[in-house]
């Protein structure tokens, strides 16, 4: 636990010292909000503010994974520190868990940035749900994205083109999350893939919480997220074992 906290604390410092990351959590939400606002400005339905907020936020959350956790891992590999971390007595997933959580906590600030822009710059009213709902959803986002991010980190750990592939995944993920169009309009096989993405359930959940009377405990999205979190949790354990073997037996850690 102490390792996780130290890792988390120092990751805050490292990420914030990187201007690209500051861009991702502050400037990018502003830019995405502006872009989507202009694209959708003819859209004549009442809750356009909420619609913008949900979509921009989820896009940013994904970007934070792409630009932070996974590229951090590639950077660590290049800097050679991955070896020192791996060869320490602490389990690898605790060390990187701390880093991923730190990046996500920072990334969740982009929600606030989007909210402020939509509410005050574009003057589109967003009625926030009650504080308990917000806190519950915040933690749901955090744990589901932490497990997803760690799972992907393992998946791409030994891939020389990790950054390439996660960049390539950006727009497919947006599509499969229901940002541009309803998932029901997608072919059935793509719908199945979208069920495996926390972003799909998060988009659904965020849309629901703006309905003040909605009880999130009855939301299938909450349970979908919890089940996915558990699945990715198991995935992390399995991947951890596979990766350890790959590193130790195939000696691939320092290949980059």
């Amino acid at each position: 636990m102490r390792v996780l906290l130290t890792s988390l604390r120092l990751q805050f410092k490292q990420s914030l010292s990187r201007s690209t990351y500051r861009f991702v959590i502050i400037i990018q939400p502003i830019l995405n909000t502006i872009l989507l606002y202009f694209i959708l400005s003819n859209k004549n339905f009442v809750n356009v503010g909420e619609y913008l907020f949900v979509n921009v936020s989820v896009m940013n959350l994904w970007s934070s994974i792409v630009f932070s956790s996974l590229s951090d891992l590639t950077r660590e590999k290049r800097m050679g520190v991955l070896g020192s971390n791996f060869a320490s007595p602490v389990k690898f997933q605790w060390i990187y868990g701390g880093k991923v959580i730190a990046n996500l906590i920072l990334a969740l600030w982009s929600f606030a940035v989007s909210y402020l822009i939509i509410q005050y710059v574009f003057d589109l009213n967003i009625v926030l749900p009650n504080v308990y709902t917000l806190i519950t959803v915040y933690f749901l986002l955090l744990i589901s994205f932490t497990t997803l991010s760690l799972f992907l980190s393992y998946f791409f750990l030994l891939n020389r083109q990790a950054i390439f592939w996660i960049n390539v995944l950006e727009y497919p993920i947006y599509l499969l999350s229901g940002i541009a169009t309803s998932i029901q309009k997608l072919p059935w096989f793509l719908q199945i893939i979208s069920w495996l993405l926390p972003t799909k359930w998060i988009v659904g959940l965020l849309h629901q919480i703006f309905n003040a009377k909605y009880n999130i405990l009855t939301s299938a999205n909450v349970y979908g997220l919890l089940i996915l979190t558990a699945l990715y949790g198991i995935g992390i354990i399995v991947m951890n074992n596979i990766m350890e073997r790959k590193i130790l037996v195939e000696g691939q850690l320092e290949v980059y």
Partner: protein, 322 residues
């Protein structure tokens, strides 16, 4: 209790090449390092030094054979070994450049369960040891190569390792920093730390090591104290000669054989640089005929020659030249 802190028994390591064939990086090597000693591992690039170091750093498993560290079998007890070992790789990698030196040490000490006062004291002590106290709060990216290397040393000592593995630790260091580094290593060994290190600087290896192992093409070709390595070659005769117009091995052998016939035979051509050839020759009657040798020197085109103990550099080339 086992007197060896590091023990490799018939350790092999193969890598799969892209075309599916196996590349043998280590072939049945056996190596023992005694507690509190400094052991130098030398060999040309691609000889298997780094693979050995990676295995001992717990970053790689051997394909076969047994590795024992501080009496514990490594392969199935990685974590039990990790708390007591550490490694320092030469160069500027292995650090978080965007953190300060102090933050780097805080981070890595947390990985070795250091906390509270103990952690603070250790970091302070190590910063002083590597003379980085004054710049401890500056980001590592602003450091010179030497400073980064010194910080690496501090990082490697955070857990008071009983076994310290150093892979070309003085690469890029100036002479003075390298000297300081060597003093730290001697001090650690005197306090019981077992040290295995690789280096291409043979003078440094001879200066530091209690024992030296030479590795070539994945196999250990010689091992022992510098003196033992010398006498291994010295049992036979080591001739260093400056010979004109000798262009290849065959000519060199012909030249020597013409004079000494059966008494002295050239066993192995070591190296030819310019008009200098260095050769290992052995005496069949174990005694050098001085008259014949003088006659040989006078009549052949040898300008200079010496018979005697080879330097470590010569030993190294003797064992690693094909």
């Amino acid at each position: 209790m086992n007197e060896y802190m590091i023990n490799l028994d018939k350790v092999s390591r193969t890598y799969k090449e892209k075309n599916g064939t196996d590349f043998v990086a280590l072939n049945q090597i056996s190596l023992n390092v005694k507690k509190g000693t400094i052991h130098g591992l030398i060999g040309p690039n691609g000889a298997g030094k780094s693979t050995t170091m990676k295995i001992l750093s717990t970053l790689l498993l051997p394909s076969s054979g047994t590795v024992t560290m501080k009496g514990i079998e490594l392969q199935s007890n990685l974590n039990a070994v990790r708390q007591d070992i550490n490694f320092i790789y030469g160069g500027e990698r292995d650090l978080y450049w965007r953190l300060t030196a102090r933050e780097n040490l805080e981070y890595f000490s947390a990985l070795y369960s250091l906390k509270g006062v103990e952690q603070k004291e250790k970091i302070k002590e190590l910063l002083e040891l590597v003379q980085l106290t004054d710049v401890a709060n500056k980001k590592v990216e602003t450091y010179s190569k030497g400073m980064k290397q010194r910080l690496q040393i501090a990082r490697g000592l955070l857990n008071n390792p009983r076994i310290l593995l150093l892979d070309e630790p003085t690469i890029g260091l100036d002479r003075q920093s390298a000297e300081e580094f060597k003093n730290i290593i001697r001090h650690l060994a005197a306090n019981g730390t077992t040290i295995l290190f690789t280096s291409h600087y043979l003078e440094e290896v001879e200066d530091l090591s209690d024992e030296i192992t030479i590795i070539s093409r994945g196999e250990i070709v010689a091992s022992g104290t510098a003196q033992e390595l010398r006498s291994n070659i010295g049992k036979e005769l080591y001739v260093h000669a400056v010979v004109e117009n000798v262009v290849n091995r065959k000519q060199a052998i012909t030249l020597f054989s013409r004079y000494f016939g059966d008494e002295l035979s050239v066993e192995k051509y070591v190296e030819r640089t310019g008009n200098v050839i260095e050769m290992k020759v052995s005496l069949s009657n174990k005694k050098l005929d001085d008259v014949k040798l003088s006659s040989f020197v006078q009549n052949s085109k040898i300008r200079e020659w010496k018979i005697g103990s080879p330097s470590l550099d010569e030993i190294y080339r003797y064992y690693t030249t094909v």
